[in-house]
């Protein structure tokens, strides 16, 4: 069993719908890396593994919502398999987008009122409930709070999305 096999296993394991892959700490523990240069070791490990996986149409990605490293299909392969989970439901995708922006703008948590105010559409509560059932948000009815689960971080390239918004706003 070499370190690459262990790494691939740790990056491809799925505990539940919102937990895929492993954290840096878990990976270093599994590989028994304890020296003081472990961050450099980790960086090299990820780079080398990425080079190894690239020809297979896979890439190593980081989910900023839960700090997990995981395996993902590259953009070319993703185009072929149609990764959009909201295909044919742009309304729900738009509500999730607004929830995402609201959560990011207020330290990871927002309220239903805020989403309704931003979204300016009827049926936002139903959308939030549906998003909850799909595993994208956690909705606390009593406290009136909405939080994102890490799932959207796995399914959406947030970095690319924010760059696109920034460019759109700049222009």
């Amino acid at each position: 069993m070499n370190e690459l096999s262990v790494l691939i296993h740790l990056l491809s394991k799925k505990e539940d719908i919102t937990i895929i892959g492993s954290t840096k700490k878990e990976i270093l523990n599994a590989l028994n890396v304890k020296d003081k240069n472990k961050s450099i070791y980790f960086q090299n490990l990820i780079i080398n593994a990425s080079n190894y996986l690239e020809p297979l149409g896979l890439q190593i990605r980081f989910n900023p919502l839960n700090s997990y490293w995981y395996l993902s299909f590259d953009s070319e392969t993703t185009e072929i398999i149609s990764a959009n989970p909201f295909e044919g439901n742009p309304r729900l995708a738009a509500t999730l987008f607004c929830t995402l922006i609201c959560c990011i703008s207020s330290s990871g948590e927002t309220t239903i009122q805020k989403i309704i105010e931003i979204r300016k559409k009827k049926g936002v509560i139903e959308d939030i409930k549906e998003l909850k059932n799909l595993g994208f948000v956690i909705f606390d009815k009593n406290l009136n709070k909405v939080r994102l689960t890490p799932l959207i971080g796995y399914l959406l390239d947030l970095e690319k999305l924010f760059l696109k918004i920034a460019l759109k706003m700049k222009n």
Binding site: S12, I20, P90, A93, I101, L155, D157, L161
Partner: protein
């Protein structure tokens, strides 16, 4: 060394980029500067080094400006209100869908890829597989040397039948008459074996009382 001078060409390109940026036609962030530096590096030699220093200076000025634009852009990105301002503009669902396009990705998960499975797969992969038993036919080799047990060209049955044909004319005759003309002990032994087989097969018969062989 071949004399090559593309400094004027590169200077013109840099000037063109500068003009387009100043007119607002393009952003420096959209321009790849690597090809310019690659071109400069590849064509630089001792003959054109004097001319190239100025071109290098112009290219680095462009790079420096690009860094400045990047810094501004990163600061802009860091501002969370930018995204909030965008959704406050109440974009259409179709616009959001377009924005999300090409941003979707699919995680690769494989629950069967457990450590135990990987170890088992590795063991199976590295274990030397036993080759299935292969039966090969032995080629008959012709050698010049003489051996006591010589392998004949013809099959045993063919040899036996040839012997039978050779003695058929003599029958009925005594056992001794069969080998009368043969002096070679090995040949007599060989023919005796044929006789025994012919008797066993019933092609020949033997009368013990008269010591005669007959058909």
């Amino acid at each position: 060394m071949e004399y090559q001078d593309v400094s004027i060409e590169i200077n013109n390109l840099i000037e063109d980029i500068k003009n387009r940026v100043l007119s607002g036609e393009i952003s420096l962030l959209d321009i790849e500067l690597v090809p310019i530096f690659e071109n400069l590096k590849d064509s630089l030699n001792i003959y054109n080094i004097n001319k190239y220093s100025n071109t290098y200076k112009n290219a680095f000025q462009l790079l420096s400006q690009k860094f400045e634009e990047l810094k501004i852009f990163l600061e802009y990105l860091d501002n969370k209100d930018t995204f909030l301002n965008y959704v406050k503009k109440n974009p259409m669902d179709t616009e959001i869908t377009e924005l999300l396009e090409n941003c979707w990705k699919e995680p690769f998960t494989l629950n069967t890829l457990s450590l135990r499975f990987l170890e088992y797969s590795k063991d199976r992969l590295v274990t030397k597989k036993s080759e299935p038993l292969k039966i090969e036919s032995i080629d008959k080799i012709r050698l010049k040397e003489n051996f006591l047990l010589e392998i004949y060209d013809k099959k045993f049955t063919e040899q036996m039948n040839a012997f039978f044909d050779s003695i058929k004319g003599k029958l009925p005759c005594s056992y001794e008459e069969i080998f009368n003309n043969e002096d070679d002990q090995l040949k007599i032994f060989e023919c005796f074996i044929y006789l025994l087989h012919l008797l066993q097969l019933g092609k020949l018969k033997y009368q013990k009382e008269t010591n005669f062989l007959y058909l």
